[in-house]
């Protein structure tokens, strides 16, 4: 995978700080699984948290806190409920980054896609807000209406590619956009472009097409 578009520093800092909504955190984790460059950067943003932890004035714990924890050290360790590797199909694991494969459990082509307009299908992951997290599957030649963002929008390309005012985005690339950017992505090969999109606020479409399509897509 040849990744050329990465996260903004501020996004990785929010990830390290734990302040991203669930879907955006999922998307960041997915890209980190694919991108050694951002993994190293995220170690740096984590280290800010470590340095700050050292600076905090200690708070007294309950008197029995240490004993309570010591008493639990020998408890049999229950498997973390999240790690159900056996339920993740190997096809899903092969084409999706691990956090998404774990969540979906199925390969891309077996997901219950919903058609939401000409050449566009989506799957809402229905995660905690604010904002929304969805998979979009866009047919070749189709363009998503021009839009800006009330807040931040992260996009991770899972398959295929698109082009917009910023550049060309291929598998593994992320587009990290905020309210300063207006763009109109168009799928530029004969393959569907499948991407994970997470926002922390509703998108604002511009132009007639945008106004017509927004209530329909519900983006």
């Amino acid at each position: 995978m040849n990744i050329t578009h990465h996260f903004d520093d501020a996004t990785l800092m929010a990830y390290s700080a734990g302040s991203l909504p669930q879907g955006m955190a999922l998307l960041v984790a997915c890209h980190l699984h694919w991108c050694p460059h951002c993994r190293e950067r995220s170690e740096q943003t984590d280290a800010i948290g470590g340095a700050l932890l050292n600076q905090l004035a200690p708070t007294r714990l309950n008197d029995d806190a240490l004993n309570a924890v010591l008493a639990r050290l020998d408890e049999p360790e229950q498997e973390f409920a999240s790690v159900k590797h056996d339920t993740v199909s190997s096809a899903a694991a092969a084409e999706l980054p691990a956090p998404l494969a774990q969540m979906l459990g199925k390969p891309i082509d077996q997901l219950p896609w919903k058609r939401i307009g000409y050449g566009v299908r989506q799957l809402d992951l229905e995660l905690d807000g604010p904002g929304a997290t969805r998979l979009l599957r866009i047919s070749p030649g189709v363009s998503v209406p021009h839009h800006t963002h009330g807040g931040n929008e992260l996009t991770l390309i899972l398959r295929g590619s698109y082009n917009d005012e910023i550049g060309r985005f291929c598998m593994g690339d992320v587009a990290d956009l905020d309210d300063d950017v207006s763009h109109q992505p168009i799928v530029d090969t004969n393959e569907d472009c499948i991407c994970l999109i997470a926002t922390d606020a509703p998108l604002k479409f511009s132009g007639l097409m945008g106004r017509l399509v927004q209530p329909f897509i519900g983006l």
Partner: protein
């Protein structure tokens, strides 16, 4: 406790640090000590080692979790759970990737996020990685963190403020923008500026 790693030093020495060391050296010794202690813990499973780690980190973890806005009783509980994870996951601590305090910070953060999302969500663990020959060794990580701390202390007030609101209070960038009455773009640019200053310390030779 056995301490064979010269880099880690004698963990007991830190408790009786000579008076003539500078405070920065002293801090570095303390950090060295905890990373060595955590590495040993994975092998020895020595509960008295764990109790020492607990004594230092648990009260700081609790402060952190309280800052995130959790009520005291919940913060106490989540702190204890996070410290239990320190014991259980000690074998995953990789001193070439992070210092003890950074690693414990990430555990406490994940545990807090997990608690805040009612539903039991998967925590997204990063893959086990092959050793990277270019990767900085532990000594450098500790130096980096020490410098990072020093650098954080010297950030301009408006950059330190957004850094604290983000990391300590878990506020989103939009929430910080609302709270300070500045545009979202300004919050991000302050964070980027802060990070580029801190990052400069990361790249320097020891």
């Amino acid at each position: 406790m056995q301490e064979n790693d010269a880099e880690g030093g004698d963990v007991n020495a830190a408790a009786i640090t000579p008076q003539n060391t500078t405070s920065e050296e002293r801090r570095k010794q303390v950090r060295d000590e905890w990373s060595a202690c955590l590495t040993n813990l994975a092998e020895t499973r020595d509960k008295s080692e764990f109790a020492r780690l607990f004594g230092y980190f648990a009260p700081r973890v609790k402060s952190y979790i309280l800052r995130l806005g959790m009520p005291d009783a919940t913060a106490e509980e989540v702190t204890q759970e996070a410290m239990l994870l320190v014991w259980r996951k000690a074998h995953l601590f990789n001193r070439t990737k992070a210092s003890a305090s950074t690693w414990i910070f990430t555990l406490a953060r994940n545990q807090s996020i997990d608690r805040m999302r009612r539903e039991k969500m998967a925590l997204y663990e990063l893959p086990e990685e092959e050793p990277d020959p270019d990767h900085r060794d532990m000594g450098e990580h500790l130096v980096i963190e020490g410098r990072m701390k020093a650098a954080i202390d010297t950030l301009p007030e408006n950059q330190a403020q957004v850094l604290h609101l983000s990391y300590y209070e878990g506020k989103s960038h939009s929430e910080i923008a609302d709270q300070l009455g500045i545009p979202l773009g300004s919050v991000k640019s302050r964070l980027r500026l802060a990070f580029s200053k801190l990052k400069a310390h990361w790249g320097e030779d020891a």
